[in-house]
């Protein structure tokens, strides 16, 4: 049996559960909202880290760019900067319309800036032919540099951070509001990637992952694909960052926005845990990782980072290919990898996964 037959039911169940989750567990709305942030982290990292085989340690840059841009747009639209900085954002309440205007305009502008940054960095790093570990180290430097720059720039609050405006009560509960924003974003990202991975684009970046020299020798526009892949990743990450800044309410340059040692590492781990280079892997990895992390935080307080470290080691040792990768290796037929004798031309095998 192929698993494709049961997919509509599976999607339906996930959608319904996701829609009612904030009402089933009202106390956990913020954590649930962060669950979708984690899913977005893993999905966007996997575009270039998993599907394209370029291990980026610097994707957090786009998250921070989106976050700062959104917050700054929100601030500059409605307040005088000096006054705002002086009272740390608690000048006056915004009306719901003002709040939403600032939020969505900011997210939009953030996405434009992040995509432009990805295109520029891609033209500098990827077009030069930087690959493998060198690319990884280079992007690691980008993340650190972005954090340090933000740390020293007064206009965006420098080291003391930036507070986002107070969430207007008329819009309901903050946790639930952002839950649905991230939920919609994650669905859009998932559907977009699903479509891209099933077509030319997915195969081209997979080819780059498997053998870039061969891909070049076959005439594939490798540089173009690499840059666009990074831009797509940056697009969704910056939107996530824009909303996440408003959910958290306080933007610290190195702990929240350009948090390379937490978010930046987690996005990689979640993708690896679930199975990098697969569509569902990052989603599964993010859910498991987030729940485990919350459980550790609750029951192993004080040791939560140690437990997390142990989990990371266990992931790398026991699931080097990730959960989905492991499942696929054990039961390849279920994913459509089989000897096919019939003449019937069926749909594209396991490509969708």
């Amino acid at each position: 049996m192929n698993i494709t037959g049961r997919k509509p039911i599976l999607y339906g169940i996930i959608l319904i559960v996701s829609l009612i989750a904030p009402w089933l567990m009202p106390a956990y709305q913020t954590q649930l909202a962060f669950l979708w942030v984690m899913v977005l982290f893993a999905l966007t990292w996997d575009i270039i880290g998993g599907q394209m085989g370029y291990n980026s340690f610097g994707n957090i840059v786009f998250f921070g760019l989106g976050m700062y841009t959104t917050a700054v747009v929100q601030r500059n639209m409605h307040f005088s900067i000096e006054e705002y900085v002086h009272v740390a954002g608690r000048v006056e309440m915004l009306t719901p319309v003002q709040y939403l205007e600032g939020l969505f305009l900011g997210m939009g502008l953030g996405a434009v800036i992040a995509v432009a940054a990805a295109a520029f960095l891609g033209a500098c790093i990827l077009a030069m032919g930087m690959r493998g570990q060198y690319f990884g180290i280079c992007t690691l430097g980008l993340g650190v540099a972005a954090g340090e720059l933000a740390n020293g720039w007064e206009y965006i609050g420098a080291g003391s951070g930036l507070v986002t405006p107070v969430f207007p009560d008329q819009l309901g509960q903050r946790g639930a509001f952002f839950y649905y924003i991230f939920f919609v974003l994650a669905i859009i990202a998932f559907v977009t990637l699903r479509k891209l991975y099933a077509g030319r684009f997915g195969l081209a970046i997979n080819a780059i992952r498997d053998d870039e020299d061969k891909a070049e020798a076959m005439g594939i526009y490798t540089t173009r694909h690499k840059i666009v892949a990074w831009c797509i990743s940056a697009f969704f990450l910056s939107l996530t960052g824009g909303a996440a800044g408003h959910l958290i309410g306080f933007i610290d340059p190195t702990e929240v926005a350009f948090a390379g040692s937490t978010f930046g590492v987690w996005m990689i781990l979640m993708a690896i845990l679930g199975g990098k280079g697969t569509l569902w892997g990052p989603v599964i990895g993010a859910v498991i990782f987030h729940i485990t992390q919350e459980v550790f935080w609750t029951y192993l307080f004080g040791w939560q980072r140690v437990a997390l470290g142990a989990l990371i080691v266990a992931i790398v040792v026991f699931f080097p290919e990730g959960i989905l990768g492991w499942v696929r290796e054990r039961w390849p037929e279920r994913f459509g990898y089989r000897v096919e004798k019939s003449q019937a031309v069926s749909s594209s095998g396991g490509g969708a996964l």
Binding site: L196, A198, R200, F201, L203, D210, K214, G219, E340, G350
Partner: protein, 248 residues
Amino acid sequence: MSEQQLMVEGVTKRFGGVVANDKISLSVPTGSIIGLIGPNGSGKTTLFNSIVGYHPVEAGSIRFEGQELTGLRVQAIARLGLLRTFQQTRIYGKMTCVENMQISVPHSNEGLRTMFSEYPQEVTRKAESLLEFVGLYEKRYLMAGDLSFGQQKLLEFAMALMNEPKMLLLDEPTAGINPTLINGLIERLKRTNTDLGITLFVIEHNMRAIMNLAEYIYCLAHGELLTSGPPEQIQKDQQVIDAYLGAK
């Protein structure tokens, strides 16, 4: 003799102090099958790499259908319809055979919009019929990396055909293939040439295979062009025999 499709003139390539290719000149006419032989280390693969733009050459000119190739990048040369296969077989290991084929469509005239499109049915059908041509149809949904070496070699050949090249540079197509399958492969190479009209330029160590396949053969030794001629003449050439077996 018909028009020269590939013209190599005075190509020199050095790696540090080692002269891998020394003023090599040769030409490949349109629609022909030309062989390139020589002992190990004589510079055959280096010459292929120079032609497809893998590394710059120190001197000389390489022209494909009148267009100068030196200075062009690998992808650009591939898109002109001059394609090479690798001695160390290269396929996309973690993709299925069909996917390997689908991504090997010609990439010339490809805009940004095609990048996000899906594959039309004809592409998949063509991929499957070419997989059938090389005898891999039943394995089309297997991961390419799980195929045996010989099968990967056949897949790489099918991928090259999928790209609809005008000329194929084949680096040891029969190496590592079961002797009983070699005859079948040579038959397919000949059909590629006659039916699809693809010019073949073949590096080969298997003398029986290359003598059977090529209509004209160039022989390299120590980075220099030793001699050239039709297979019968090359077989009897004392210089060639000396180069392979060592002169007295």
